[in-house]
């Protein structure tokens, strides 16, 4: 995927964040807190768990539907993280060869299970992160983190990162175009060229950082980022959102829902005296 496509997709997330649904109107803190709780409860499951991860998918999916986020966009973006994740877990099946399950000729080893578990977890985590950005907006998330106690220095870094991502990427694109204009179309840039392109980009970034700092000083910056009064508050809707999703997450974390669903026919069979003999 090219740099311009990546930028376009980030802008799409921005557009989605500007929608006006009940989910969008919720105070960002509620969404951030529930998402954090989601991550903790999902990631704290045992390393061989696969089936128990499945019910967790309800959270990003339902939020996406409520917030009008197209699932195709979500899957496409989440798939981008796959190569990294696969690289992280690829050696598990080779290292951990304890057999956990035998399905006919196929024996499922611990390594396979943990690899699958890693892939599932990362897909869930990435897609939940994406949904959170799409239904909240990056700046609202930053502000929520600030109101939840994140240090200002870190917060400002995050805000600036997002704000200047576009400016920096535009500059990088212009430089790449300028390079392409002056060399054979099929020749890929060599390391030496990349070195000078990156060096140049770094110098431009430093220059810009200096100018931004001057602009901030000119308007009275003294090390503290001022904040306008927040427009949302933590009201009944937010409490309801937290309580409902909190209950759901506790349930799927403590209970083994897939197994109990699987046991249900047996249970019913036992009670009804051989409904499913």
């Amino acid at each position: 995927m090219g740099l311009d496509t990546a930028l376009h997709e980030i802008r799409r997330l921005d557009d989605l964040a500007a929608l006006d649904t009940p989910l969008h109107r919720l105070d960002a803190r509620a969404k951030v807190l529930v998402t954090l709780f989601f991550l903790v409860s999902m990631l704290s499951l045992g390393r061989y768990e696969v089936s128990r991860l499945l019910p967790f998918a309800a959270f990003p999916l339902i939020l996406a539907v409520q917030g009008g986020v197209p699932l195709s966009l979500l899957l496409r973006r989440a798939a981008l993280a796959l190569p990294f994740v696969v690289f992280v877990g690829i050696f598990n099946p080779l290292i951990d060869r304890t057999v956990h399950l035998t399905l006919g000729p196929l024996s499922i080893t611990g390594g396979m299970l943990s690899f699958l578990s890693i892939v599932l977890r990362s897909l869930l985590a990435v897609s939940t992160g994406l949904v959170l950005v799409a239904v909240t907006g990056f700046d609202q998330i930053c502000r929520a983190l600030g109101r939840l106690g994140m240090p200002t220095a870190l917060l400002v870094q995050l805000q600036f990162l997002y704000r200047y991502l576009f400016v920096l990427a535009d500059e990088a694109l212009r430089m790449l175009h300028a390079r392409t204009q002056r060399c054979a179309p099929d020749r890929h840039p060599c390391l030496r060229e990349y070195r000078s392109l990156l060096g140049n980009l770094l110098l431009r970034t430093l220059d810009r950082a200096g100018r931004i700092h001057q602009a901030m000083l000119c308007r009275g910056f003294d090390g503290q980022m001022p904040e306008l009064r927040p427009t949302t508050r933590f009201g009944p809707a937010e409490w309801r959102f937290c309580a409902l999703w909190g209950l759901f997450l506790v349930a799927v974390r403590i209970l083994n829902l897939p197994q109990q669903l699987g046991d249900l026919p047996l249970y019913l069979g036992g009670k009804a005296g051989g409904l499913f003999p």
């Binding site: 805000q159 931004i212 602009a215 000119c218 001022p226 306008l228």
Partner: protein
């Protein structure tokens, strides 16, 4: 005693690498004046502007804004008096939304949030950009960014507006809107620009810089009529004073 006088006396400046940028500049600008600062690339326009709001502190000579000399201890006060609009609006619009960006200055002065919010609406209304209030700056067009950048400065209620290339990168219509907007301001204005037609429209006085020195300082019409001077300073008369391109070509 006038508060809004800008006074530069014997100002010289070298960049850290030794490149001379300003050489013995003497200039006084009075309250309510609108001054065009023109010169070729590298003439020292931007460096001079940066001295007015304390981005650079004078190495030789002195700069006074109102009754306050520009020295490290007075920068806060100087920056409240002088509002600098940067050449690239992307440098000036650094907050996540337009409203927050415009509120940045007022909040830093210490205004309560309610008051700052009022200032935001006022400043945005002045530049006709109230509808952009909740947009992120990186999604605005060039003209919109420029308007908002001006609003960010207006919201601090400066007495002196200093602008670096305000009409650069604007399409003709946005440029005309900007000129009309600036004409409506009663601030003391200092515009550094290559757009001599805009200077002719807005500034009764023009200062010509060349290689860091003041080559001429006087009524705009008189200076722009001195073709020899303009040519010596690597400038050309404004397009509207060059006559008809078609008729001149036919002659």
């Amino acid at each position: 005693m006038s508060h809004h006088i800008v006074e530069l006396k014997g100002l010289s400046f070298h960049y850290p690498d030794g490149t001379p940028a300003l050489d013995n500049i003497n200039l006084t600008i009075h309250h309510g004046e609108s001054v065009g600062l023109v010169g070729a690339n590298g003439a020292g326009k931007s460096t001079l502007l940066q001295h007015l709001c304390g981005v650079h502190v004078p190495q030789t000579g002195r700069v006074r804004v109102g009754d306050v000399p520009v020295v490290p201890g007075t920068l806060r006060e100087v920056r409240r008096t002088v509002g600098l609009v940067f050449q690239d609006p992307d440098d000036q619009l650094f907050m996540p939304t337009v409203a927050e960006d415009v509120a940045f200055g007022p909040l830093n002065i210490g205004l309560p949030p309610e008051e700052a919010a009022l200032r935001v609406d006022e400043a945005l209304a002045q530049v006709d950009a109230l509808h952009l209030k909740h947009r992120p700056p990186h999604r605005l067009s060039g003209g919109e960014k420029r308007a908002v950048a001006i609003a960010t400065v207006l919201a601090c209620s400066p007495d002196i507006l200093v602008m670096d290339e305000p009409s650069a990168n604007l399409d003709p219509r946005s440029r005309r809107l900007l000129i009309n907007l600036l004409r409506g301001f009663e601030h003391t204005k200092i515009l550094a620009t290559h757009d001599l037609d805009m200077v002719l429209d807005l500034c009764e006085r023009t200062v010509v810089l060349h290689k860091g020195r003041v080559m001429a300082d006087g009524p705009t019409a008189q200076i722009f009529a001195d073709y020899a001077l303009l040519s010596a300073c690597a400038l050309e008369p404004p397009l509207c004073m060059q006559g008809c391109a078609v008729c001149n070509a036919a002659r």
